[in-house]
Structures are given as C-alpha cells and as structure tokens.
Point group: C2
Chain length 349, copies 2
Amino acid sequence: LIDRQESPYPLAEPGSAAQVMEQFRQPIEDALRRSLDGRSAGIYDMLRYHLGLDGSSPSQGKALRPTLCLLVCEALGGDWSRALPAAASIELIHNFSLIHDDIQDGDELRRGRPTLWTRHGVAQAINAGDSMFALATLTLRDLRPLFDDAIVVEAMSVLREATREMIEGQFLDVGYESVPEVTLDQYLEMIRCKTGALLRASIEMGALLADAGAPLRHRCRRLGEAIGSLFQIRDDMLGVWGESETTGKSADSDIRRKKKSLPVVMALANARQTDREALLSTYAQDSLSSADVDRVRGIFDSLEVKMHLQQLADEAHEQAMKLVDTINFTSEGRTELVALVNFLLERDH
Amino acid sequence: LIDRQESPYPLAEPGSAAQVMEQFRQPIEDALRRSLDGRSAGIYDMLRYHLGLDGSSPSQGKALRPTLCLLVCEALGGDWSRALPAAASIELIHNFSLIHDDIQDGDELRRGRPTLWTRHGVAQAINAGDSMFALATLTLRDLRPLFDDAIVVEAMSVLREATREMIEGQFLDVGYESVPEVTLDQYLEMIRCKTGALLRASIEMGALLADAGAPLRHRCRRLGEAIGSLFQIRDDMLGVWGESETTGKSADSDIRRKKKSLPVVMALANARQTDREALLSTYAQDSLSSADVDRVRGIFDSLEVKMHLQQLADEAHEQAMKLVDTINFTSEGRTELVALVNFLLERDH
C-alpha cells in the first residue's frame, strides 16, 4: 500500500489546500504513470508530454479532480489508495478534453508549455486526445480486483455518463462562440455540463469507492455541482483578470480572444443599451485591438462585473460549505475538504 | 425478439453477400437508433446525420463490422439478436474514427454526402467524434441484463483494447503522411491496427456472445485479422482504381490527395531507381497536377501494382477461407460468412 507522502513544501501549512494537494500529488502521478506503463507507441509520448510525465515540465496540473476523488473517499472512511485507478481515469478524461479543447480554442499554451496541436499539428493532437480517452477507459478497469463487481460497474457508469455530459457541454461552448449573445442561464447550463459533470463525478466516485449508499452519494453529487460552479466561475474570472505567469495560459486575455466567457455574459446581462451595443459590435469584429480590449475592460469596470462574479462565486462557495455540513465526513477529512474549497474561491491559478 | 427481415432486394440471391447484409441491416439500424433514443442535445443531430439516421440519406454505410459480429454469433449457435448492443457499439466506435479521420484527411465527402467538419467546422466535428465514442461505451452497457457479468466485462475489454489499437494505427497513418517513404511492412502493421483491430474485435465479440471458449475465440481473432487485411487492401485499391459513383467518396483519387496508401507503398517497394525517384519527387510536391497523377498511374501500370495488390488480397482471402474451415460454424452460417468474405474480395464500393 502506498503511504501518503510528507509534504516537501515547508510553506504548506498543515490542513492547508497546498498540503492537501501535495499529499496526493505523487500517488496520483504514479497512478498516471502506471496507466501508461508498457505503452511504447509514439502516440503515448504525446500523452506523457501533455501530462507533464516526460520530465519536460517542472509542474503537472493541479490534479484537482483526482485529489477531490481521493480526499472524499478518505473523508468518508474509505481506503483512498484503492481508489487510485478511478482518480487516474478521471484525470485522463479531463486531459483528453483539454487536448481537444486546445485545438478548438486555438490555444497555444497550457501550463506554460506549447499545446500538443502546436507541436504535432491538429491531426495528431486529435489522435492524442482520442488515445487519452481510450486510456481512461482501460485504466478504470484496474479497479476490478480491488472492489466488488457491482461497484466497478457503477464506477464505470458514473464516469461514462459524466464524459457524455462533458462532451455535450463542450459542444454548447463551441456553439456559443458563433452566436452574437449568450444568456447567463445558457452559460451556466453549459458549464454545469462542461466542467461540472466531471467534478461532480470525481466526488461521487470517491463516495462510491468508500462504499457510500445512494442517499449519501446523492449529497456528494450536489456538493460536486456546487464545487464545479465555484471552480468555473473563478476560472472565467482568471481568464480576464488573471496573470499569465500564474495561470500558465496565454498572456492574451479571454477578451482579446473574444471568448464568450462569464465576464462578457454577465456584462451583457447587466448592460444598458449603449454598453450592450458597444460590447456586441466589438465582439462581432474579426479580431480585437488593444484599444478594443481596453474599452471592454472599461465597460466591465463600470458595470462592476468582477464584483458580480465574485458574488456568484461566493454563493457557490457558501452552497458547497452548507452541503459539506450535511455529510458525515471525518473531522480531518472535513478540514481538508474545506481548505480545498476555500482555495478554489481564492486561487490565482 | 427481433425477426430477421425478408430482403426487399429481389436481386439479392439467397446466401449472397447482399442478402446477408440486407438481413441484418434493419436490426442494426434499429439498434443504432435505440442508442440515440432520448438524446436531444444538438450534438446528437450531428451523429444522426453522420450515421444516415436523419432521413437525409437514402443509404447508410455497409455496416460490415456489426454484420460480421451478428453473423459470427449466429453461425456459432448464438442468439444474434442479443448481440445487437455489441454490434451497435462497434459500429459507433467505427464511426467515431471516421468522423475524426475525415477531419485529419480533409475529406469533404463520405457516403456521397458532405462530411461533418465541412458542415459544422472542425471544432464541432471533433466534439461529434468524441460524443460518438462516448455513446459507444454507453451502448455496450446494454448487454448487461442479457448476458452474464463475466461475458459483459470481457466484451467491454475486447472493445476497449480494439479501440486503443485502432487509435494507435490512426496515429501511425497520420504520421506516415509526413515522411517521404513508408515501407510495406510499416504499412501492413499500420492497417493491422487501424482497420484490423476493430474488424477482429467484431468477429471475436460475435464468438464471445455465442459463449465460445478461449481456443475458439482465438481462431476467430485470427479470422478477423485475415478479413481485416483483405478489407483494407481492397479499400486502398478502390482509392486509386475505384469509381466515386460507387464508393461515395471524393472523385479525387488517393493519388491526387497524395495519400500514402498501399498502391504507392507497393510501387516504391518494387520500383527501380528512375521510377522511385519520380514517385518520391512527385509525392514531395505540395499538390499534384493532372499530368502528375497520370504519370503516377503510368508508373503503377508499368510496375503492375494492381496485379500485385490483387495477389495480396487473394492471399488474405485464402487465409480467411482456411481459417473458416478450422471453425465449427453451422452450415448456413458458414455459407453466409463465405459469401461475405468473397464479397470483400470482389467489391467495388
């Protein structure tokens, strides 16, 4: 059995989000490596590069989803180390979607490094994403000797349904790029699918593998939904107000890239005639100048968009906290989960 | 239970390949429709269009893989109608690969109709392929009440491994487009993965769902490999010598598209210095003129490439026939399978 590592980060306070994530970091990385063990065809080198497992990257992603899965499993009295195949599988599904998302958005940087399609072309990046999806389904199979068949079957079902929903959300997201305006309700439904489904599944999977019954799993699903909303709201805020050095993404903001993310959706929902028309005509252009970007930022400021979005994030955070209190987590597990949820509210990357 | 339909094709002789395919056509189409039942999000309309289930197309694909699955199941004494979720799932995996393949190859026509990426753009076509993959995994789950868990688990494993291998083959195929020369061995290994894996899985799955033991399933896998080779050799021949009216593909031959398929691979393997250099310099150009295409055809003719490929196809056909004789198929099933294998040797579409 794998021991949770001592944190090598002296600054990570006990019970802090950094420490929680650090504790699970190495086991998750090892599980991802195992899922690629013996896979020597060239396509798997693309996957190792993307996952930061080839030594080319000093840091992998946050591994938020697998961390949530393992943490919830442990906090409900389960043996988190047995849940590692599920955690790895979830992270692989997430990364399959990132590889295809980068192609669709034309994003050239991810975690501070060139994206796969910029290195290998669109055709091979499509294959790499497909391969990551296939690998996820193979990895989940490793639950089999560790859990009863009924639980394994249910875990597969949870991941399959979440993947389906995630792709439906991705379809909505791409579609929204070519319509003039997206309403707040439409946008929230989209992120509920695109981001929420897999985050929800991460938490539900953790509960399932801790042998939680249906009512508890249902509460965990709702917690996952709240955490998913919180995560995506902050993510969209960082896309406009974040620093590329901390986010690892392109220095071009989501405004410059005309991304119809939450800030502009919220601005359009709140703007009066003049600002609405200015926003719509600006986003209708083929590309935006620095002056355009500044003008949009000015409109966001005058409409207090950032404050409104922070309110939305606060609401999602509060809902998550209320749901945490309905679930009988271990004391230590609860502390760690709360630290992680607080981090999602405050993160700058 | 679903009855096999009477053939509406008066010309389909009893026991002919056309009749075999026609017998299973409607049940397969119904199973594909069931897998999309209740899926109302817009992305599923893309899938229905691609599959020819939206009324926009007079004909679907040949459904070769699900037909082989059902036919082998029946020919080994199984109840083919219970295997329909597996057959549909295989066809969905195949079509997921076609959607992404069309993007990668820039193909504008498939079965005589515009491909998804030409209608909806690359980004949404990527999503549609992903969604088809996800749907395939959901559809296979429908085997569950019909078969023992051990068989369902094994069926999932067979499909997962075949999908992984198919994507590895697709990676090789795309990679070969950007190297000056592909050897015959490299090419045959590529098609063994890209096309062979899923055809092999189709036949193995049919055997598995007829409750075949491991030795019989092994022979069925080998039969699937031979049929896969036969299929792809003929497919590559049709890409150069087929008529677009019958294939439903672009009128541009694989030569014009500089596709490094079997004809040019075989030509390079057999050519002497002058022809080799002419072929390599022609294929090194950005695009080919009609004169270039004619010159390449001339080289193919002088090297008797078509005849050599037909020999390869004949060998694969002979091997398939020998393997058929090692398997204890029902008399009627054997006749139908032989008719189908003969069709693959002779088909013009």
